[in-house]
Symmetry: C2
Subunit: 213 residues, 2 copies
């Protein structure tokens, strides 16, 4: 798999925050927003903001700033958020449910078409508008619904087995919320989400700010 | 607030993954693990692994590697995960419930003592062993239970108001899962978690791997 240039990964991760700030400016009726304002809002250096936003192809004008509408479109386009991403969720537990109901994803092209869970009291029900099916319907449904993304929120001990089914069904990308490092063919994109990373940063920041507790 | 040296933030975020790998080695009965093995497992450069782990004070021995037990203890100690962090959750929706049930946090010192929610059908109940109280009990409970961390999973339009109550109650750190940039005094640590960041990376990686969909 061609590795995404590491230098740009932090920029990509910051783009959703830029989008929030610029959308808020649009809501306030503004046509332009300065890099300095964006920087203040997000506690970044202005030079960082200009460098990050250059990736979208939009350049700010001196003393006027960035054109709000164009910048919103450019960020959405760069992130591929102006396209529809057909997705499923595997594991309809609390985290799976939280992701199904997450309006930000829907607003940015993520279309969650189905969920899969082994639990018989969930199968046949609908959560946040998403129908829940049994796991053994998964491969067929992925093909039938032309799904490209699978969001994985199963218990860790089931993660690798489910990932293999997903690969077999032709899934192109797995968004992995388990703490298992999945072994999948190189052409399948895996994005691992680790909630523990945030907890690590929080605990270290707290100790540096307030001393060890 | 003294800003955590940015250079070390990516390292801190990677430490939980190192911990997983080294704990797995311990489970397999190994006393030592080589930096190269860790690097392969996590798809990092060996030099990166050695640099990252140096932050914990543990140095690998040539041809033997890192002592497993000492490394686990050193990572936990560096991350302050060997201490108890008394926490509450504000917002007992799906995401709040998912975090209450997240065993990784409990295993690493996070002790979630109470949850708060405006919904009368949740108040008085217990979720994953955590009692749910009404929002207007929050300030008193924080003081009574000597809580330092608040995990914020309320709807975005309530985030700032709740944050102000948390500050008033003397909370030291807010783990912010809303998409609001909170305005709080400089001595309160805020760690913002944005699930959209992961979606951004996933969508860009997919386009680079498979072309635009």
């Amino acid at each position: 798999m061609p590795i995404v240039k590491l230098a740009s990964l932090p920029t990509i991760k910051r783009l959703p925050s830029y989008l929030h700030v610029v959308e808020a400016a649009q809501k306030d009726g503004k046509d332009f927003i300065s890099g300095t304002i964006i920087a203040e809002e997000l506690e970044l250096e202005p030079i960082q903001v200009r460098k990050d936003l250059a990736i979208t192809g939009i350049v700010g004008k001196p003393r006027i700033g960035f054109p709000v509408k164009e910048l919103i479109n450019a960020i959405n386009s760069f992130l591929e958020w102006d396209k529809i991403h057909r997705a499923i969720i595997v594991g309809a537990g609390n985290l799976g449910r939280a992701l199904m109901g997450y309006a930000e994803f829907k607003r940015h092209g993520m279309s969650i078409l189905a969920a899969f869970d082994p639990s018989t009291d969930k199968i046949g029900k609908t959560i946040c508008g998403v129908p829940v099916h049994s796991l053994n319907q998964m491969v067929n449904k992925i093909r039938e619904l032309d799904v490209h993304i699978a969001i994985l929120t199963v218990p860790s001990d089931q993660a690798q087995a489910v990932a293999e089914l997903l690969v077999k069904a032709g899934i192109k990308a797995i968004w992995n919320f388990t703490n298992v490092k999945l072994k999948v063919p190189g052409n399948v994109v895996v994005q691992k989400e680790d909630l523990s990373s945030g907890y690590a940063v929080l605990a270290v920041k707290m100790a540096r700010q307030h001393g060890s507790v």
